[in-house]
């Protein structure tokens, strides 16, 4: 091979590489390599050595490119399957088990090839209605066992099946799409609360030191149906909720309330909670669920202004402060759960977080927990859950919710330096001018800083917000009554950088809700935004603008001045009248003259 042929050989190899990975080797690099490595005086041995060197390099580069291409393909497939670009952030919904059952039924029927397409809808709706009727009966029996108060039973029944009448083939098919394509985290609703999971079928017994000695019958069937379906579809799971002041098992309350010794009460409560945590952990592990988060502490901050940081609750009274170190009651709860769930994200979840006084309480709780963590060298809390149930009027403050409240509280939470999650979003505000501003403020300030977003319920009908208020449905969910996501849904996802469904511009709300709405593609890395201007530039522009307006006025003035004066024919009444009269007089004179001439001629002829 000659030196010239060697050059050609090198060029061919480079072309091959660039075919696999465009512009991998630039022309400049190509020329430099050839100039450096090929010269006319090379011996055949040197050429052979060079070819061998080039072949080795080529093989290395190609294998690296192949590995890189394969990795990219794998990643693409992974993202395609999950339909979510950022796998670290969570996006989910809270489900009641009957809704999950509806999705499961839909999936089964749609995939059943023995059922004709025309019959699928009818069969689905028949089977679903039958299921819901039966479930209502079973639930009623369960409720009667759990709750003694008949009014509470009625209320629970309504709440448990709220929106079920709205489920039909079309709406469920849309909900199924959301479930399978968009969500990566599923949360249970009421069926995970302690007053449902701990069966009230027998009294709880404790020894004289407060240790639980009777067996508790736990009922995790409700959440099992939800978690099984989530697992089948590769979704992460969040358990809601471990400790809540509104979900205390009746039999536990009765057992502890009988006791007077506060230390004994404390031991009994903690013993129960340990048993609960162990059984919950066993349930999760035995079923192999991908448990991502637990709402351990739910709504423990005081909701009253200037009434202390913590909510007064039965749990707080019964567990009380740790007698050894004075730690607040919830620290012991966190430690119990942490022991059973060392690798799960433990969350403190609260509401009205956008109110300044509540925000202060929540932040104080977080800072307190962080101090204990530092003192004891143990991670107790992994995140703060902000429920985001938005209402436009704050009764306690007797004032409307404002954009400023949303902005300022979000800043306080961001400064906590702790993962934040929106956990129960719904927007219970009648659509008006304010509503859009508040919505936008929420998206700009809160959605921007959170690592996960969950909606409470599954559509406008399948949520507690489905109520009449002043004659109007609240339509508080991000998904409408037919199961179709609203624009706010997509806006939230894109703001979080979770998903960009179709790479087209989507709309968001503006102040009056009528005009078009735009989304910004936030892929600006190196370019300065066109919008950016210094103060100096703005001032100069203002001067230019004023100058141009003056020029405009001058031009208009000039135009007027230069307009040629058009000649006008005037209509003169007096001239017109004089002319007419002259004509008559003239006619008379001519007639007289003609008459006179005629008479003269007549006389002359001898008439």
């Amino acid at each position: 091979m000659s030196a010239e042929e060697l050059s050609k050989y090198i060029n061919k190899k480079i072309d091959d590489i660039n075919l696999k990975y465009p512009n991998f080797i630039t022309n400049e690099q190509r020329n430099n390599y050839i100039n450096k490595n090929v010269n006319i005086e090379m011996t055949p041995e040197q050429i052979d050595k060079k070819i061998s060197e080039i072949d080795n390099m080529y093989n290395k580069i190609v294998s690296q490119i192949n590995i890189s291409n394969q990795l990219t393909q794998d990643l693409d497939i992974k993202f395609q399957n999950k339909k979510i670009k950022n796998v670290d952030k969570t996006f989910g919904e809270v489900y009641k088990s009957y809704v999950i059952h509806a999705l499961k039924l839909y999936e089964e029927i749609v995939n059943d090839k023995t059922i004709s397409n025309n019959s699928k809808k009818q069969i689905f709706e028949l089977r679903l209605n039958k299921y819901i009727s039966n479930k209502k009966i079973d639930t009623n029996e369960y409720l009667l066992q759990q709750i003694k108060d008949p009014i509470k039973v009625e209320y629970a029944k309504t709440e448990l099946f709220m929106g079920s009448e709205s489920l039909n083939f079309e709406s469920v098919s849309n909900l199924y799409k959301t479930f399978t394509e968009d969500l990566n985290q599923i949360v249970n609703d009421f069926e995970g609360k302690m007053n449902f999971t701990v069966m009230n079928n027998r009294p709880l017994e404790f020894d004289n030191k407060g240790k639980l000695i009777s067996k508790i019958d736990y009922n995790f069937n409700g959440i099992k149906e939800i978690y099984d379906f989530a697992k089948e579809h590769g979704k992460k799971i969040k358990f809601h909720t471990f400790l809540w002041h509104n979900a205390i098992p009746e039999n536990l309350k009765q057992s502890i309330n009988k006791v007077y010794d506060p230390q004994l009460k404390r031991e009994m409560a903690l013993s129960f909670l340990k048993d609960y945590a162990i059984n919950l952990s066993n349930f999760i592990n035995q079923n192999g669920y991908d448990l991502n988060q637990i709402d351990v502490l739910n709504e423990i901050a005081s909701d009253e202004i200037n009434m202390g940081i913590l909510r007064d609750s039965w749990w707080k009274d019964v567990i009380g402060k740790n007698p050894t170190n004075g730690d607040e009651y919830f620290i012991d709860v966190l430690k119990i759960v942490r022991e059973q769930f060392p690798n799960v994200n433990l969350i403190y979840n609260d509401y009205n977080e956008y109110l300044p006084y509540k925000c202060e309480n929540i932040c104080k709780i977080i800072n307190y927990i962080k101090k204990i963590e530092t003192r004891d060298g143990i991670k107790l809390l992994d995140g703060l859950g902000l429920q985001a149930h938005y209402f436009d009027y704050i009764k306690k403050l007797d004032m409307p919710l404002s954009v400023n409240m949303i902005k300022e509280t979000s800043i306080k939470y961001a400064q906590l330096d702790m993962p934040l999650y929106i956990t129960e979003f719904d927007f219970n505000i009648i659509a008006n001018q304010n509503a859009n501003q508040l919505k936008q403020a929420f998206i700009n300030n809160y959605v921007n800083i959170v690592d996960g977003f969950n909606m409470w319920g599954n559509s406008d009908n399948l949520t507690w917000g489905h109520t009449m208020l002043n004659g109007q449905f609240l339509n508080s969910h991000a998904i409408d009554a037919n199961g179709k996501p609203k624009e706010i849904y997509y806006h939230i996802m894109e703001q979080m950088g979770i998903m960009n469904k179709n790479n087209q511009l989507i709309y968001m709300y503006d102040n009056d809700g009528n005009k078009p709405k735009f989304k910004s593609d936030k892929k600006i890395i190196n370019n300065i935004s066109f919008f950016q201007r210094s103060q100096n530039e703005i001032q100069i522009y203002q001067q230019i603008k004023n100058k141009n307006q003056i020029i405009k006025q001058q031009k208009n003035h000039q135009k007027l001045m230069n307009t040629p004066k058009a000649k006008k024919l005037k209509y003169d009444n007096s001239t017109h009248n004089n002319g007419f009269i002259s004509t008559i007089i003239l006619s008379l004179i001519i007639s007289f003259i003609c008459g006179a001439i005629f008479i003269v001629c007549y006389i002359a002829v001898g008439g």
Partner: protein, 204 residues
């Protein structure tokens, strides 16, 4: 210096001339289109003397559009020119209004940036080529305004000596002087300006 050096200066001169022609043509292109914008905008935009003032005016004009005001009201303040074009297009389609004046304004803005880039490239090339003759010409980049005069005469004296000592022929010397002037003009006066005859003056 050898003859081929003088030859290199000639080659460089041809290259610079081509770049100059390109810049001048773009400036004329700008003037023609800017005049069109003056009409389309009904006088809200007027051609300014300097490129930077034109940029400020064009940007302000575009940001005053209904579309940009709405973007701002919705807290969308981070967008490139490319994205802005898409927003304007969407707005135009949705409201069925003619936004050609804003598209023209945007293209004028981009044209000015292009002109500025071309001028920068030309000046850099001139400095790089002239450094073969005057090695310290790049000192102008770090000099202050009040030092320019001294620096200019220092470089000119150098060139005069090269001519005197036949190190540069007459043509090469003239080219070097022209290049030197061009560089200093840029550092003193900035980017090319628009001729007065294209700028509105109130007729007396």
């Amino acid at each position: 210096m050898e003859n081929n050096f003088n030859l290199k200066i000639m080659e460089f001169y041809i290259k610079i001339n081509k770049m100059n022609d390109k810049i001048v043509s773009k400036i004329f292109d700008f003037i023609i289109k800017a005049n069109k914008l003056v009409d389309l905008s009904d006088g809200d935009y007027q051609i300014e003397k300097t490129l930077i003032l034109n940029k400020i005016s064009l940007k302000g004009y575009i940001l005053d559009s209904d579309c940009c005001i709405q973007l701002n009201n919705n807290n969308i303040t981070v967008y490139s020119i490319k994205e802005l074009k898409t927003f304007l297009l969407q707005y135009e389609k949705t409201f069925k209004i003619d936004y050609s004046k804003y598209f023209l304004a945007l293209s004028l803005y981009e044209l000015i940036e292009d002109i500025e880039n071309q001028v920068d490239s030309k000046i850099n090339l001139e400095i790089s080529e002239l450094s073969r003759v005057i090695s310290s010409i790049s000192d102008i980049k770090i000099s202050k305004n009040d030092e320019y005069e001294t620096l200019y005469y220092k470089f000119k004296t150098q060139l005069d000596n090269y001519l005197k000592n036949n190190k540069l022929d007459g043509k090469a010397y003239n080219i070097c002087i022209q290049t030197l002037n061009d560089i200093f003009n840029f550092y003193i006066s900035g980017y090319p300006t628009i001729s007065d005859k294209y700028i509105y003056h109130k007729e007396s």
